[in-house]
Amino acid sequence: MKRLACLMVLLCFLPSLAIGANDGYETTYSYTYDFWDEVQYSPDPYRVSDVIYSVTLGLDTAMRKPQSLFVQGKRIYVADTGNNRILEIEKQGEEYVLLRVIDHISGAQPETFSSPTDMFVDPEGNLYVADRDNNRVLMADSEGNLIREYVKPVDSTFDQSMAFLPNKIVVDSIGRVYVLATNVNKGLVKYEPDGTFTGYIGANPVKYNLWDYIWKEFLTTKEQRAQQASFVPTEYENIYIDHEGFIYCTNIVFSEYDLRSDTAKPIRRINAIGNDILIKNGWEPPIGDLQWLEGSQDYGPSKFKDITVFDDDIYVAFDRTHGRVFGYDPQGSLLWAFGTKGNSEGAFLGAVSIEHMDHDLLCLDENENSITVFTPTDYGSLIYRANDEYLRGEYETSADTWREVLKLNANYPLGFVGIGRALMRQNDFSGAMSYFKMAHDRQNYGRAYRYYRKDVVEKYIGWGVAVIAALLIVPLIFRKRKQMKEEVEAYERLRIGNRDKA
């Protein structure tokens, strides 16, 4: 009896224990947006698994105002801008070990850096450094010997009175260098592998509306006009090159009213001729936060400080305004969003750069001088797994994985779409339709519906034809009968008439 009572008491507490488990809903740290653009809190897709400080790396001088991160394989590179050096860190098992400190390139003139803001390492191990205040980009081999220098372009398109300040760099698989330089608004400065300057790519198109034009041309005096800003394209904030060689750019200069109509384009994916080819099939274009809190200190649209792209084309952008990270799938739908501003672990107050290592996220903080490592939770990994399985063609397992995701977060629209797509591959069109409808996915619903309609029509076409035929033939028979009757009667009358005459 006593044991039973104990059990009862335990049972009473069990549900509360289950609710008390921190699944992320209570903290309002992670969320997605629903079809009506309202925040739906979700389980955490990422949790902090490690924080790397100068001390944990065993550095003599602590990092100072580091500006950028780069990851190649298992190696992490940090541009320690304030100390004019670059750190090379390797992930060995679960440990992050400092491999070397690069503070000079032998053969360069001068050999040391001055505010290096970014670096890039190609698969062969060649190191590219954006040595900003020395006005150059250096290319060195893995031993640290200079191979090439990329300097200020001697070209009429480049204003020679202006300093060349390379801020961010990426290098494509052929070895072309793309430089995002401060005060250059013509796009990315592009160099061929041999170091020659070959122009600009991906200029931000100039945007002005009719009213601006009328105001400028007709309603202001020459003196006023000289004081106003002219219509010039804006610079990008950051760049990233994905595994296919397309450059992702983020742009933070826009008016917030252009976001929804997709004219602001805060995230772009530019191809070789500089056109934006980012796919946007989501409910809203990838613009980060759709609502922002009225009256809050961080009121305003998301401004993406940095972006990184996974090998499965999922891209992750870091929003400096609200201190949040947004993950988008290759179709441009929001996968998850998380983050907050603050000084605690997992908050982004001074974050400046974000990178990925497989599906882990690394975030560099310039105030804390630390690198925070985020690892996907079960929930986050399930989302990635379901996407992978679908891409590999394992539709049934993918649907099962999505069901697992929905168990953790029933408000996850992409889960419904995922199950719907898998059902459609299995020719269950009406089932697919109901899932697409729940996810408000009209494109896919329309597709499933067409197959469904075809099936229904094919099934009932026989009956339809029969009914139409019956409707046509039956009156015909009646008419024929009536006609025959009339003929018979006419004949009878004729016969009687003839007989009477006779």
Partner: protein, 220 residues
């Protein structure tokens, strides 16, 4: 007794014939609107019916169109608000048109203007109601069919309203077009006056309320 029965019968007949007359009007607008006013072939009852049908169509459309074509936030939609947001501008435009056209030798009475405008709404009902059904048959890739039919209904309505006003006031097309713009302007003026009226009303109310409070506190 017998007399009254025959009267109600003729009333019903007249109502039905004026309803049927709507079909004539939308296909023969020039003759139709002219006869509606001058031969008394339209009725206010039929006009009210068309207006109610129009509002009903609007609500049904929001609620029952397939989600591929309209995704209305059902949880936020208020039927009265929806109807009001259509009815109010409609009436304000009618009033404004009447008020202004009376000043510039328009021949139409308010009754005629209202009737013409209501009859002009008929294509919306006739096309959009079946379109709700059609939306459940066609798929998202065939949305052009849907949008084309919808645009036809709207253009038809506007055209009918235009011809209706032209015939009612006995204006030429140019003057009617001018008066469409003037009507919109007049409607804005009316809205402004309504706003001013209500703000003055609330000020006056506030004044008397504070007066009362003052006196009440002084006396007790």
């Amino acid at each position: 007794m017998k007399d009254s029965v025959s009267v109600t019968e003729t009333r019903l007949d007249r109502y039905l014939s004026t309803l049927r007359y709507g079909l004539y009007v939308i296909f023969h607008p020039f003759d139709g609107f002219w006869d509606m006013v001058h031969e008394k072939r339209g009725s206010l009852a039929a006009a009210h019916t068309f207006l109610v049908l129009f509002l009903l169509t609007r609500v049904l459309k929001l609620m029952y169109t397939n989600f591929q074509f309209i995704q209305a936030p059902i949880q936020y939609i208020n039927i009265y608000e929806q109807c009001g947001s259509l009815l109010f501008p409609f009436l304000v435009l009618c009033v404004s048109n009447w008020a202004l056209s009376t000043l510039f030798d328009g021949k139409g009475y308010f009754r005629d203007i209202y009737m013409a405008m209501c009859y002009a709404l008929l294509p919306y009902v006739l096309i959009q109601l079946p379109l709700i059904l059609v939306s459940h048959i066609i798929s998202f890739d065939e949305r052009e069919i849907y949008s084309v039919l919808m645009n036809i209904s709207l253009i038809w309505c506007v055209f009918l309203a235009f011809v209706g006003l032209m015939e009612v006031h006995d204006y030429g097309p140019g003057k009617t077009l001018l008066f469409l713009f003037v009507t919109v302007f007049g409607a804005l003026v009316i809205l402004f006056l309504i706003l001013v009226f209500f703000s003055l009303l609330s000020d006056a109310y506030g004044f008397f309320a504070s007066l009362y409070r003052e006196i009440a506190f002084r006396l007790y």
